[in-house]
Symmetry: C2
Subunit: 252 residues, 2 copies
């Protein structure tokens, strides 16, 4: 089966969660828009293609089946790529975790676009600063402490009993948050040992390491979901006030 | 099987999408927090209960299985309640539609809380007015025109070939948006004949009609996801400028 992935060119975006799974499994796939341009997605988005009509990219074509929504694509691919246990309970659990990761992704995006995706960041910067502050101080800790507890609840190494697409997606979350909010993440990291170790381990998996070093892995950039705007990150703490393991704002 | 639904008391919220499916199917279920108080959810949310740890309500307990995330709960319940076709393709399609409905629900919520769920509405009213304007003019039309096209693509009556939990959820979306944004929805309704007819049909299904007339169906209120704040709705058009079928701001 040669999978066809459809996602906007030029950014990692939500497509990256699917890409990481395909790459980690060594799957045969085409990144269609990157080869043919974004216009290749339009017949699907306009409803001119048989099968499910996607509301937005990413979507996957597998034979005649079209599947949209990142978490649903991974739910479909998981057992086919050997990236989730086969039992229904485990598959549902993995899916629930992925849906929670998807919620975090929406919130990460809305830190720089709290008013409207149709407006420029510069036109909503004041609201963005407020939303980003809440995201850094309350929401990132709430989400990441939750995922840290999920790793503890399992075996400390994986979200599920074994390596899965959930681990790959947690890697992407940690990498994206580190890029967008490096100072805030510096403060949080000491309380997230399992998540940090997981992200490092995933990066050294042979196929993932090869992928990350390849031109297929785009750099993060300020058209993407995770954007580095220094004014949205935590303030630089002075050497005097900054304590090792300082963890202000973390709610357990 | 007696299902246990866990969701915050006092609002319809995301739990309502699950309730509508359970009620429509005449399933045996307990609305646990409404009987025992919100504290009954805490052991699950704190991770002190075996099985999947939910990030947030709603979650469902079915025997020993715990499932969180609204769309995942419906994915699980769908075939068990006869509310989705059995084929994998149809189940995935229904799920993808539900995930898109979930995206709309997040955006509906964020119209009154664009900065932070931890702040009062009154403390983010200026940003809310801007976000609500974009939601009314761009996002509601984009989502609802999409779902209208899904009904056209099927048989005009149902999102899938037959009645499903997707239809029940579309009813809830239409009802919630009509409550929160009555003036904006007045302008959009003429272009959404299939969605409007579906919502009316669902309301007359015998078990749904009985449920809606029962005390189990809470009224919408301003602690809920869909809130009616007149200042977030469209302006009242004067009789002179208001045209029948006026549909300004609808993007196809």
């Amino acid at each position: 089966m040669r999978y066809e992935l459809y996602y906007w060119t030029g950014i990692q975006g939500r497509g990256e969660f699917v890409r990481l799974a395909l790459e980690d499994a060594g799957a045969d796939y085409i990144d269609v828009a990157r080869e043919q341009g974004d216009a290749a997605m339009m017949p699907f988005l306009r409803g001119n293609h048989p099968g499910a009509r996607p509301f937005a990219p990413p979507f996957l074509k597998a034979g005649r089946t079209v599947i949209a929504q990142t978490a649903a694509i991974l739910f479909y691919l998981g057992p086919r790529l050997g990236l989730v246990p086969q039992s229904e309970t485990a598959r549902l659990y993995a899916h629930q975790l992925l849906l929670t990761i998807s919620d975090l992704v929406v919130e990460a995006h809305d830190t720089h676009h709290p008013i409207a995706g149709s407006l420029y960041y510069e036109d909503q910067r004041a609201a963005a600063k407020k939303r980003a502050e809440d995201f850094r101080q309350r929401r990132i800790p709430k989400f990441l402490n939750y995922f840290e507890s999920i790793l503890e609840r399992s075996n400390g190494k994986h979200a599920l009993a074994l390596h899965s697409y959930v681990d790959l997606s947690l890697f992407q979350i940690m990498t994206g948050l580190n890029y967008a909010f490096p100072r805030a993440m510096n403060g949080l990291r000491p309380k997230l040992p399992h998540l940090c170790a997981l992200a490092e381990r995933v990066a050294t998996r042979p196929r993932i390491a090869a992928y990350l070093a390849s031109p297929r892995r785009l750099d993060f950039n300020e058209s993407d979901i995770f954007r580095h705007y220094p004014e949205l990150d935590a303030k630089q703490l002075s050497a005097q006030t900054r304590q090792p393991g300082d963890n202000a704002g973390v709610t357990k």
